[in-house]
């Protein structure tokens, strides 16, 4: 089995032969470059996913708050404006 096939079998399905390097140790062998990634979620992607979840939760909260209820929409917006001014947020 060639080396690329071994890489794929070891768990690197997207492993790539990139190029020969030009370094020859004999007439039969030459340096080569291979790139492979272990499938799965990186820490960066995990953070991004958790941010996405937080954003989704906020959107849901906002939707429910401003949705139909006892108070009309105008009153709700004025309460939100008052709360944001009291909290020091510039609207």
């Amino acid at each position: 089995m060639d080396f690329l096939a071994l890489l794929k079998k070891a768990g690197f399905p997207s492993a790539n032969f990139v190029k020969l390097t030009g370094f020859k140790s004999s007439p039969y062998t030459e340096g080569a470059l291979f790139y492979a990634e272990k499938p799965g979620v990186t820490q960066e992607q995990e953070v991004s996913m958790s941010q996405k979840k937080a954003l989704q939760a906020y959107e849901e909260f906002r939707g429910l708050t401003f949705g139909p209820g006892v108070l009309d929409l105008k009153t709700k917006y004025l309460i939100a404006l008052g709360a944001s001014l009291a909290a020091g947020c510039d609207p």
């Binding site: 370094f23 039969y28 790139y35 499938p39």
Partner: protein
């Protein structure tokens, strides 16, 4: 393939590899390889030499890689890197410069003599304190699962008898999403019949 070799042949190959690299560790790479080594070899492979211009010449002289793993993608600040078959540690020290003080690099080699030489090279760059070297086998990596963001290796897996096992070990110690940046020797022509069975071919 290793499955075609007898136990005796495999033992001979392991012994031959160790003897060759003990010799390289003790005498330098000169004469042991048929391709350019040292700083000239690094320059030809496009290594970012600016990054290590403060390294003493003796470190760069130890280089005998077969390609430039760093050309395969960036190594980022703060990452944890393993150099499998680090030899005298030139790639290890370069990776240490790339990950910076928030990152960490481990160099692993099969011979004690190479690890001593890598340690001697490290001692020439006192500003690097994020590097460690240790003896270990490629086919049985002495690290926990999912330890490394990046694994680099240069001219090593071709010497490994059980490549499938060594690659599975590499997979095991990489974090999910981790990268393998690999330079190695491959066959580009059929070996002549009279040489195909030579045990010495394994580590020429």
């Amino acid at each position: 393939m290793s499955s075609d070799l007898t136990e005796k042949e495999m033992a001979l190959i392991r012994q031959g590899i160790k003897e060759k690299y003990v010799r390289v560790a003790q005498t330098g790479s000169g004469g042991c390889f048929q391709y350019p080594t040292g700083a000239e070899g690094m320059r030809l492979q496009g290594y970012p030499l600016d990054l290590v211009k403060d390294f003493p010449k003796t470190i760069l002289d130890s280089f005998c890689g077969v390609g430039n793993p760093f050309s395969l993608g960036p190594i980022r600040e703060g990452e944890v890197v393993l150099d499998i078959g680090c030899g005298a540690g030139v790639d290890t020290l370069m990776a240490a410069r790339m990950v910076g003080p928030k990152g960490r690099v481990v160099g692993l080699d099969v011979t004690e003599e190479m690890i001593q030489r890598a340690g001697a090279n490290l001692s020439l760059v006192p500003s690097l304190n994020n590097v460690s070297f240790q003896v270990g086998e490629t086919e049985s990596l002495p690290f926990p699962d999912k330890e490394f963001d990046v694994i680099i290796s240069n001219g090593v897996f071709n010497l490994t008898l059980n490549k499938a096992k060594a690659l599975k070990e590499t997979y095991r110690v990489l974090k999910p999403g981790g990268r393998l940046l690999l330079a190695d020797m491959v066959l580009v022509a059929e070996l002549p019949q009279e040489r195909a069975g030579n045990v010495e071919n394994w580590y020429q």
